[in-house]
Structure formats: structure tokens, C-alpha cells
Amino acid sequence: MDKIKEKLQQTSQATRSERRGRFISFLALILILVVVIAIFWFVAAKGLATFFQNHINVWDFLSGKTWDPSVKGANGRPEVGALPMIVGSFLITLLSALVATPFAIGTAVFMNEIAPRNGAKILQPVTELLVGIPSVVYGFIGLSVVVPFVRHVFGGSGFGILSGTFVLFVMILPTVTSMTADTLKSVPRYYREASLALGATRWQTIHKVVLRAATPGILTAIVFGMARAFGEALAVQMVVGNATLLPHNLVSPSSTLTSVLTEGIGNTVMGSLQNNALWSLALVLLIMSLFFNVIIRIIGRKGELR
């Protein structure tokens, strides 16, 4: 009798495996959370050392125009002005998004509203494929096609913001296009039918109904593309010229946050000011990536309310 009682009261094999499985899968999830926290912790600790250990003024860092951490400036402080890189990054990001947006929206509209059959058959697989092309390949093409082209047409060395813009435009175009196409697809069919039934032409339907309804999604796609452009390192580094100067014009060699990082980290000694200053640039990148995330969330929430 006791034996049966004991057997009934103890936890079964299934319960134990349930608990174990649930625990292990929970651990995996927690691991991801730990990784994210660790990334922020490490990068912030390193990046803030410039300001707390080396006593660089935050404002000097953000607005200084000379980047030469190994040399002391007129005021006796090392020259760690990150403004050229910050301007370079923002300029390239904004310009490439500005060029890519009309193309992306146009292509997505073409795929969904004008020639859905051919669009789905040719354009969609190709854009999806291009999303997966490695960024170094874009950089290489930039180096062997875009840079000579820019040098030929606009003068200068060919390296600079303009070349970076062209490369990033082609790079984020597939991403923005396929995200925009997905949003257009999720606009209910009866919106279009209602508009056409009122006697609107296809163009009127597209720009007064479909694009309006899809605006939050399209904005998300653009911000997403900008986040990708802002964080892209190698493709930009290969064509931007890597001179830590404020860009005079679009064809003068300049640099971005990511390009200075990829070049510098290996050539500086851990813990030195030169190195800490680079980590501060990484921290700026991290904060900007968070900022893009917040914008996407805000757009998403605003879109829901409507």
C-alpha cells in the first residue's frame, strides 16, 4: 500500500523532464539578456573612461574638430574632437537614406500595386537575395566602380562622403524596399477597392490611400535602413578616404565613427587615452543604435493608435 502511495505522490518522470526542459530553455533566454547587458556594461565602462580617467570634457569630445589623441593641443589637453566623425556618420546616413527612400518606395509600389505578378516573380527574390550580400562585397564594388566613377565625374580623389553615400544607398536599398513591400502588402485589399469604387484612379489610390495607410511602416523601414547605414563599418571604411577632417565638400576624404574604429582599435594600446577615445566613439555608436530603436518603437506605437 505504501509503495503505491509513494509512487503516486512522487513527481513523475514527465514532470521532472518538464521542469528540466523549462529551466534549460529559460537559461538560454537569460543568457541572451546577460549578453546584451554585458555589451552595454563593457562598452560604457571603456567609453566613459575617457571622461572620468583621462578627464576629457564631454563637450570638447563632441564638438572638437581635431582628432589626434596622441598630440596635446593648445590647452594642454589631448586633441580628441570627434566632431568630424560624427558629422561624417550623420551626413552619410542621411544622404543615403534620402537617395534610397524614393527608389525603395517606388519599387515597392511597383511590386505591389502596378505589376504584382512580375514584381513577385523577379523583383522580390532578387531584393531578398541582395539583402544577404556581404557588406565587404559592396565595399569592394564601391572601391572598383564607384570611387573611379566619382573621381571621373566630380573630381577629387574619389574617396569621400559621396562614394560612401552611393555604396550605402545600394546596400540599404534592398532592405528598405522589402520592408516597404511587406507594409504595402498588409494594407487591406478593401481600402483599394473602396477607393477605386469612388472613381479614383490608380495613382490617386496609391498616394491618397495606400501610402497614407502604410506611412508608419514605411517610416519604420527608412529608420531601419538608416540604423544599418549608421552602423555599417567595412564597406564605408573602404571608400570614405579615412581622413579625420571635417568634410569640406562631398568628395573630400573624410571619416565616420565606424571607419575610425575599424582602423584604430588594433593600432592602440589597451587602456591608453588613444584607445579609450576610440571606445568613446563605440559608445556613441551604441547610443545612436539605441536611439534608432526608440524611434522605431515610437513610430510603431503611433501607427497602432490610428
Binding site: 530553455s25 538560454a28 533566454l29 523577379i122 569592394f140 490608380r202 549608421f230 563605440a282 551604441l286 539605441l290
Partner: protein
Amino acid sequence: MNAKTADKIATAVFYAIAGSVILILAFLLGYILISGFPKLTWQFLTTPAKAFTAGGGIGIQLFNSFYLLLLAMLISFPIALGAGIYLNEYAKQNWLTTIIRTAIEILSSLPSVVVGLFGFLLFVVHMKMGFSILSGALALTFFNLPLLTRSIEGSLAAIPNLQREAGLALGLSRWETVTHVILPAAVPSILTGVILSAGRVFGEAAALIYTSGQSAPALNFGDWNPFNISSPLNPMRPAETLAVHIWKINSEGIMPDASAVSAGSSAVLVLAVLLFNFLARWLGRRLYHRLTSATN
């Protein structure tokens, strides 16, 4: 201008935009494949690179890329699978779940160079692992985890609740239902997600230049003991991958035929991504038919 003319003009504009985008994309693919194709010989694909003279291959880099991909997948798949299962099958709607979902989203949007720098700091410097395949594989894991987790969660979410109810009705526990009913049904779409993410990992370079390093020491392909330094399997050796190789020879190389080698390497990378794409589609469809006895 009346509405009909406007409509016609707009349609023409859309055709022009789509046409120019198709042209750009076709030029891009065509340029990579055509300029790289003459380079793709067996000799190019198997011989080691030469730093100062022309005629080097990409043999070691190609091997490194695949080995690194394999290790990164071996590490990240179980974690992503566990996380995906918990998120879809167990997680309740509470603050912790919200935080974790936000964290995954943030991780997926981090620039890969930041992930690489973190890997450099943690593994290469603090843990003293040096520039090694293992450091690179771990950095790639961080890079890969958020997307893989979301794709696995999506695959599980696509399995109808009827299946879960059927499992529970048979007296299975939740975990048994997941492992015996839900996972087998989700295998095709999980596999598609894994292969697509493999394509992304294969071409990643920014996360690797400071973790797995930028040098490719000579390997002895007759020695498969992972503890020997010249063995291809040794996870503690520095390993330049194909994508890093392209960046390296273009930005600071002194190789006389750098642009031909990069063209060939780019073609290999793009062909690999193409292959991963087709494989994902084909295998997904095939496995779906096999596992669900669906007919064509």
C-alpha cells in the same frame, strides 16, 4: 492636368524607378559574377594566399570561413532553440518577457562592429584567448543569436494550437509536447531559418577582424588533431575568413593582384549566399513533404 493624365505619368514614373532599380541590381550581380568568374579555378580555391606576389589563392580563408560558420552555428543553435522555445511556449506576458524581447531587438540592431569590439575586449583581451577561431565563433554567436531566436520563435508560433492541444490531450507534458509534436512539425521552417542565418554569418567581416584576426597561418591539411597548432581543426589559431580577406587586401594589402583576388573572393561569397538561399528553399519544401506527407 486631369486625373487620367496624372495617373499615366505616375505609372510611367513607377516603371522608370523599378526599371532603374532592376538595372542597378542586375549590374551589381553581373559585375560580381562576371569579374570574378574567370578567377574561379580549382587552383584558386585551394591554394594558400600570397602576400607579396601575384597568383595566390584563397584555400585557407575558404576553409576558415566554413569552420567558423560551423562552430558559430554549433554554439548559437542550441541557445537560440532554447530561447525560442521558452519565448513561444512558456513565456507569460509580463515585465520580464517585455525586457527580454526588447533586449533581443536591441542586440539585433547593434552595429556588428560593436559586437566585434565587445568580443575583442571580452575574449581576446580579458579571457586571453587571443585572436582565435573560438573568439570569432563566440562573437558571431552574439551577432547571430537575436535573428536566429526570432526566426525559431516564428517557426514555432506558426504551428497551430490544435497540435499542442492534441499533445496535451494525450497526457503528454508541455515539454514532451514541444519535443515530440511541435518541434518535428517546425523542423522545415527552423531549418530554413538556420540556413538563411548561415548565409549572413558566412559573409560577416566587421565582427571578426578583431576577434578571429586578420592572419591566416599555414595549415597542414594532413593533421586533424585539434591540439596541434598547424591543424586545421585547432580552435585557438588565428583565422582570417574570406570576407575579412577581401577587406584586408583592399584596405592595407600590397598584393599586386589584389583586385582580381577580391573579385574572385566576392564571387565565391555571393555564390555561397545564393547557394544557401536555394538550399533553404529546396530543403524546406522537401522536408515539409517528407514530414507531413503532403502531396504536390
